[in-house]
């Protein structure tokens, strides 16, 4: 089995451990990820805030690269990148005038057969939880995890077409299959504040504070997420020391892959204490 892979800009920077753990986990699952050639930024929040056309053309260039690679569906780890690629795909698929304009600017012909999938969707619905479970060497021993989806994975549901927008279950099901115990809580799709963290950190501190304290109140020992910006905000803007994992890191623990030390040292809140006390390190 193989997939095209769009790492996104933060793969080399602020979410380094997301990319590293993704590669190790996929190696263990025996699934190939083929990085698309010369990919560019998905456009992120800034471009659609000021320039709609640019916010569609930047992801479209990546879609064109994935088409030419012919390496299977495009797997996208970062929830933000995923949502912007899907937003462009929606215009390419459903708005003829929009498609022609984008095709002309980017210089390609859109092929609707290319699928764009969030990494968690790839794991649940293409690889399958049975296969993941077969590879589990170190079950997570009932580790209490709050699964945090944030905005971009599930909204807008017509665009992302992934899971329930108010009470999604994908990450919860995955965590259960690894032997963890996902907690029930009400803040799994609340916004972390996104890039307001740069201009209004105090506002984001309040937003993150609510999310983290609610996870703790629900009995969670840690939070898991699939978005680089969410992970950074949740780690950087909280005071209670709750570890924030990428979901691929917890998969890596359960599958007992190599080089995990290289992920833990990237965290602002070290998860090692929790892993040790849970018998996972």
């Amino acid at each position: 089995m193989k997939f095209s892979y769009f790492p996104g800009c933060t793969d080399h920077s602020s979410s380094l451990e997301y990319g590293l753990s993704t590669h190790e986990v996929f190696k263990a699952l025996g699934v190939e990820l083929v990085e698309i050639e010369d990919w560019n930024c998905c456009g992120a929040a800034a471009t659609h805030s000021l320039n709609r056309l640019l916010s569609l053309c930047l992801p479209a260039r990546n879609i064109s690269k994935a088409q030419s690679a012919q390496a299977g569906p495009l797997a996208v780890p970062c929830a933000g990148c995923f949502s912007y690629l899907k937003r462009a795909e929606n215009v390419l698929k459903n708005d003829e005038a929009g498609r022609k304009e984008i095709e002309e600017i980017v210089g390609f012909t859109y092929q609707p057969s290319l699928e764009i999938l969030a990494l968690v969707d790839v794991i649940l619905n293409r690889i399958g939880l049975e296969k993941v479970q077969e590879k589990v060497k170190k079950p997570l021993n009932g580790l209490k995890v709050a699964c945090y989806y944030g905005c971009a994975l599930v909204r807008h549901p017509k665009i992302t077409q992934l899971d329930d927008p108010e009470n999604p279950q994908y990450l919860d099901r995955l965590m259960k299959s690894l032997g963890a115990e996902p907690v029930e809580w009400s803040y799994k799709v609340d916004c972390c504040g996104a890039d307001l963290a740069m201009t209004y950190p105090k506002v984001v501190k309040k937003m993150v504070g609510k999310i983290v304290s609610m996870a703790k109140e629900a009995g969670a020992q840690c939070i898991t997420t699939s978005c680089g910006l969410c992970q950074m905000n949740l780690e950087m803007r909280q005071d209670v020391g709750l570890p924030i994992f990428y979901f691929t890191e917890l998969m890596g623990v359960a599958l007992d892959v190599e080089k995990k030390e290289n992920w833990w040292k990237r965290h602002l809140i070290s998860p090692k204490g929790l892993l040790k006390s849970s018998g996972l390190l």
Partner: protein, 186 residues
Amino acid sequence: METMTSAGKVDSSFLKEVEKRSGEKLSLCYQCLKCTAGCPTAPYMDFRPNNIVRMIQMGMRKEVMESSAIWFCVYCQTCGTRCPNEIHIGILMDTLREMAMEEGFHAKEKNIHLFHEAFIHSVGRGGRAHEVTMLMEYMLKSRDLMADSLFPGVILFLKGKFPLLPSLVHGKEEIKKIFERCTKEK
């Protein structure tokens, strides 16, 4: 469409223009306030999302364009997901920001605007976002010293998460062309 109020006729040209450009049917709004109830940044806005929709219906172009509300929207899409009339306020806010800048209105939230611009410039330079140069541009232009972010930022840098050198695409010319076309056609 003509609306009568005690003050006389309302000019609906702004409403028509925003509806056409955003593709959102704002006339359908019946002020149920679901958007504002679920909006995580509404407490920090001068006008709430439902107010903005009503103000557009009432033709209040200047007040809308100069509001802080259009800048505080972080496009979390909670409003658009829950709206019973399927109005996507995130897309509306994007449209309003873009129109406000084109029409030369002053950005009420200058720093949010400068941050978005710094990000776009960073992508325009090398095809990929680069935190260090982006943040430097933002700090210089806004004179925001980012006191709350500086310490964790330095730690992230020491952890190798803010590389000094940017990762660049080979097809810089392609990126340049996309930027030129997307800016020229506006």
